[in-house]
């Protein structure tokens, strides 16, 4: 079971300005160079952010994997690529194992797992920026519209 | 015209102070006060000393006794003309002094025993005391070269520029008998020539000796102004005297409460009190915020019936108290007390804002 002090990303749509800085920094974080200018101007194929920004009228919010306790993507994965990180409880995708059967995409009720735009072969999703103290999207949200919090 | 320190601007000073009182009204001569203050010579620098003595004019105890300080003859005459308008002068004479080379006398020192001709009714809301205060205010502010040193009954203030013990000798204080003496040795931060600036400061039968510098002076002065107290000279001492006069004589507050006004309790102390008390001290503080005396000070305030010693809220200046039989002593240093009372019954350091009060029993 997932223990309590594990942190999750909480979305507060009422404060999302829709600036998409989270997306920018997510992209950089998942680029080869991790350098913002290079990531945008020097890397081909262009790195892919693991965060989805939804917008409708003045409402907007950033959405990334919820790392569900009862994750259907884990049940659906036929290769064992999708796994739960014991320490953080995060649901991660081992892209070397993934064959791109898209079962996870089919079952994720948040639609936050995407086909890797470039290879088109493997699933790509939020990894909570493992290694970073807090995910970069949260660190760089200018309005605390997404926050990192122990799960209740 | 050159600005005169004390008269035209404030100058900070450190001081040695002592107050001695027999609560039974036993009169004793000034020698004791001189002895005590002289052992705190360290605390003064020869630029100011003075004494107040109560019970020294028993034969004229019903007359207002004005001690005056004149720069020049015509100041004296115009003052006397003014006095004669409102008072009958029962007696006037020079204040006896002896020649002492350490003190160069440069003023005319004169005392008057007066009887007011004014019926209180003439001055509607004002009573005789108020009228006397007005007189003093007028002389001090309007008549150039004249200064009222003291204006009480059966008491007097003797002061000048010099070491206090020399001033004492100069005024021959050993020849006076009083039941309450206060003495002051001053350490001003720059030369002062003017005798009026020395302590004690007096108004009516109040006398104040004071060691300290009052940071709240500006607002205290403006507050007093509302009640017609012209701070004609610039000494903190004056402010304290007027505050006592206002709060005790006019607002009819006792000395314990006055102490809680001048050195008010901290809000958190008030917070911790039971409701009733809290309400009381809140009212006190919000009403008299402008009378809060801030900054370091230790004072001895006296009038004919009382001697009060008080320390600032943080006790930033020294003050020791002692009792022996019916005697109360308040001084800057214990040594001064022991000098004149080797075996006191009790010696203690009053806490910040805790008044030491001696009362005349009758």
């Amino acid at each position: 079971m997932v223990d309590k002090n594990q942190k999750r990303i909480i979305i507060r749509e009422e404060y999302c300005m829709g600036c998409r800085l989270c997306e920018v920094y997510c992209l950089v974080q998942h680029s080869k160079t991790k350098n913002i200018i290079k990531a945008y101007k020097g890397e081909y194929p262009k790195p892919q952010p693991r965060i989805i920004i939804e917008e409708k009228g003045y409402l907007s919010f950033a959405l990334q994997c919820r790392h569900c306790e009862d994750a259907s993507c884990l049940e659906a994965c036929i290769t064992g690529a999708m796994y739960r990180d014991k320490k953080t409880g995060a649901v991660l995708c081992n892209e070397d194992k993934c064959v791109g059967c898209w079962m996870c995409i089919m079952v994720c009720p948040f639609g936050v797992i995407q086909r890797n735009r470039t290879t088109k072969k493997v699933a790509s999703k939020c990894d909570l920026c493992l290694g970073e103290e807090i995910p970069v999207c949260i660190k760089n949200c200018p309005n605390e519209a997404i926050i990192f919090k122990e799960m209740e | 015209m050159r600005l005169e320190p004390d008269r035209d601007y404030r100058i900070p000073s450190a001081c040695g102070i002592i107050g001695i009182m027999s609560q039974n009204g036993e009169r004793f001569n000034g020698e004791l006060a001189i002895k005590a203050i002289s052992c705190m010579r360290e605390r003064s620098n020869g630029l100011g000393g003075g004494f107040s003595a109560y019970g020294i004019y028993p034969e004229y105890k019903d007359f207002w006794c004005f001690h005056l300080l004149y720069d020049k003859e015509n100041a004296k005459s115009s003052t006397e003309d003014y006095l004669k308008k409102f008072y009958t002068i029962k007696k006037d004479e020079p204040i006896p002094t002896r020649k002492i080379d350490k003190i160069q006398k440069r003023n005319i020192l004169w005392r008057y025993f007066l009887n007011s001709q004014i019926k209180p009714t003439d001055y509607t809301d004002k009573n005789e005391e108020d009228f006397v205060v007005d007189t003093v205010m007028f002389i001090n502010s309007k008549i150039e070269g004249a200064f009222v040193v003291s204006s009480g009954k059966n008491m007097g203030i003797f002061k000048g520029v010099g070491y206090p013990e020399d001033i004492g000798r100069f005024y021959c204080l050993e020849e006076y008998q009083g039941y309450l003496w206060t003495a002051h040795g001053r350490f001003p931060t720059n030369t002062v020539g003017w005798w009026g600036g020395a302590h004690p400061f007096g108004i009516l039968d109040w006398s104040v000796i004071h060691n300290g510098e009052i940071s709240s002076y500006g607002i205290n002065r403006r507050y007093l102004l509302n009640y017609g107290y012209q701070c004609t000279l610039f000494t903190d001492t004056e402010v304290i005297a007027y505050l006592f006069d206002l709060l005790h004589r006019k607002h009819k507050l006792n000395f314990e409460i006055i102490a809680k006004i001048l050195t008010s309790l901290f809000w958190e102390e008030i917070e911790r009190m039971p409701e009733e008390q809290k309400k009381f001290y809140l009212a006190l503080r919000i009403t008299y915020g402008s009378a809060l005396v801030n900054g370091p000070f230790a004072v001895v305030v006296a009038n004919s019936n009382t001697m009060v010693g008080l320390n600032d809220r943080l006790k930033l200046r020294p003050q020791v108290a002692a009792t022996k039989d019916n005697f109360v002593y308040i001084a800057s240093e214990e040594s001064a007390i022991r000098e004149i009372c080797p075996k006191p019954d009790r010696v203690w350091l009053p806490k910040a804002g805790e008044p030491v009060i001696g009362r005349l029993r009758n």
């Binding site: 009422e14 999302c16 300005m17 829709g18 600036c19 998409r20 800085l21 920018v24 920094y25 913002i36 200018i37 945008y40 101007k41 003045y58 760089n140 200018p142 309005n143 605390e144 519209a145 | 601007y9 404030r10 100058i11 900070p12 000073s13 450190a14 931060t189 300290g212 510098e213 940071s215 709240s216 002076y217 500006g218 607002i219 002065r221 403006r222 102004l225 509302n226 610039f234 607002h251 507050l253 409460i257 901290f266 809000w267 958190e268 309400k279 009381f280 009212a283 503080r285 919000i286 009403t287 915020g289 402008s290 809060l292 005396v293 801030n294 900054g295 370091p296 809220r313 943080l314 930033l316």
Partner: protein
């Protein structure tokens, strides 16, 4: 008309090397300065639209953006300055009154900057606020002249008072002129610090009733949202007569700003202009004011202080005295540099007197008349930092109102475009795209920090003067000296020139 004759105020500099075309600036500019061109995948910025709020600049992740004042210069002319020419041009184009926001930005003397404070040396130990108690608590309202005691019991009743933990309040800023999130931030900050904020004339949104004990509710000439519950909701009531930014002028909240929520709060139909008349039409003289004051006291059963806010004008001292005699428990004075959400530029920049002088003369007058204790003085209009606060108090104010400073703490960059309702910082706007940009939690914390910082600085300055309770500084002008002021100024301010001893 196609020919644009006004010169744009700012230019947007974009470092193409650094720009990654992330389009954050495009998404965030409410003035549509930055547009992404799909063909060239470049961002084109139209400097003419830039108001200089620097929102884009602060968000740009690569620091590719710099907003600069437009260096394009007209022939130097001390008389016909760029600003004057631009104003004329605009009026020639629009034929209307020039509107502006925030406080007067003209270089009138700022007396605060010519007043210096005292500190203890040798003869008087300064007090270390970290070791000794340092009291800023302030009570506002009517205070007795003296205490009467009968057998050690209080004989007098103390009138209702406002308690402040630090002598600063948030000035009147209406819901309408600023966003609900901004109001919430102010209310929460006031609650946390133990001070009060002021509803302005915008009424009280239902979500704000819970902050009642930290609220001053305003009753202005428009009477918007004024009713029983409203009056009872606050800790005090303020009758607004005037405002430093526009003395003698009413308020005008354009209909497009009157949303559903605002219409409910102000009790006017959606989309209708909210017009506050220049005068209260039930106050044509001082006795009318007295009636209103007591009407409001009656309405709240004498449980709340009732104060009056006026703009600092030539006759301020006698006016204030009259107000106190009319029964006000506090007088709020708003100086020449006081802010606004919208005011005619010509009024803002030319009417009223600086707050420093107003404080000095009012405090002096009330003392001379021996009614100083009957009412507290709250001074506002150009209070920029803790030094201004402490100087205002030493001149004679009981507490100060801050407005612009609070807005700046929340993000405002003083672009003075509040009246457009396009505040990119989400403060002076009702546009749901923009209001959500102000997270009340963050804003609240920033306000609390500001007040904490100022309070600490005030304590340090007090300690330096050897004072450990703010009431010993209030009106204590001996602690002030004028540097480079004329004798007349010094006389009016009641302070000595620097260099002169006690």
């Amino acid at each position: 008309m196609t020919k644009k004759t006004a010169i744009s105020e700012f230019i947007v500099e974009r470092d193409k090397e650094k720009c990654i075309t992330c389009q954050v600036c495009c998404r965030m500019c409410a003035n549509d300065v930055h547009i992404h061109d799909i063909e060239t995948d470049e961002i084109i910025s139209d400097s003419n639209k830039c108001v200089g709020c620097h929102f884009c600049e602060t968000l740009c992740p690569t620091g590719a953006l710099v907003i600069k004042r437009n260096p394009s210069e007209l022939k130097i002319n001390a008389n016909w300055t760029k600003e004057i020419i631009n104003d004329i041009t605009k009026q020639a184009e629009t034929g209307g009154v020039l509107l502006t926001g925030m406080g007067c930005d003209k270089p009138y003397p700022i007396y605060f900057d010519h007043i210096v404070l005292n500190a203890s040396q040798v003869t008087n130990p300064s007090i270390d606020p970290l070791r000794e108690p340092m009291e800023l608590r302030t009570y506002l309202g009517r205070k007795p002249e003296k205490i009467e005691i009968k057998d050690s019991k209080l004989e007098i009743e103390i009138a209702p008072l406002l308690r402040l933990e630090t002598p600063i309040l948030f000035t009147a800023m209406s819901y309408g002129s600023i966003s609900l999130n901004a109001c919430i931030a102010l209310a929460r900050a006031a609650e946390e610090v133990g001070i009060l904020y002021n509803t302005g004339e915008g009424g009280l949104h239902k979500d704000l009733y819970k902050y009642g004990k930290n609220t001053i509710v305003q009753c202005a000439s428009g009477r918007f949202g004024v009713y029983k519950e409203y009056l009872e909701a606050g800790a005090a009531i303020e009758i607004k007569i005037g405002q430093g930014a526009k003395p003698g002028i009413g308020g005008h909240l354009p209909g497009e700003k009157v949303s559903e929520e605002i219409s409910q709060t102000r009790m006017i139909p959606v989309g209708t202009d909210a017009l506050s008349p220049a005068p209260h039409h039930d106050i044509y003289s001082i006795e009318d004011l007295r009636q209103l004051i007591f009407a409001l006291k009656e309405a709240t059963r004498y449980k709340k202080p009732v104060g009056v806010k006026i703009a600092a004008v030539h006759n301020i001292a006698p006016i204030a005295s009259g107000i106190v005699r009319a029964g006000a428990d506090f007088v709020a004075i708003d100086g020449l540099r006081g802010g606004t959400g919208a005011a005619p530029k010509v009024i803002r920049d030319n009417v009223g007197i600086p707050i420093e002088l107003a404080i000095a003369v009012v405090d002096q007058r009330l003392r001379e008349e021996r009614i100083r204790h009957q009412a507290s003085i709250i001074a506002g209009g150009g209070i920029r930092n803790s030094a201004d606060v402490i100087k205002a108090i030493a001149l004679g104010a009981d507490a100060v109102y801050i407005g612009t400073a609070a807005l700046v703490a929340m993000g405002c960059h003083v672009c003075q475009k509040c009246y457009t309702g396009k505040c990119n910082w989400g403060i002076a706007t009702q546009d749901p795209y923009l209001t959500k940009r102000l997270n009340p939690e963050i804003a609240k914390n920033r306000l609390v920090n500001l007040l904490r910082a100022w309070s600490l600085e005030i304590k340090e300055m007090l300690g330096g003067m050897g004072i450990n309770a703010i009431e010993s500084l209030r009106g204590n002008r001996d602690q002030l000296r004028g540097a480079g002021l004329s004798d007349t100024d010094l006389k009016l301010l009641g302070i000595k020139p620097a260099g002169e001893a006690w």
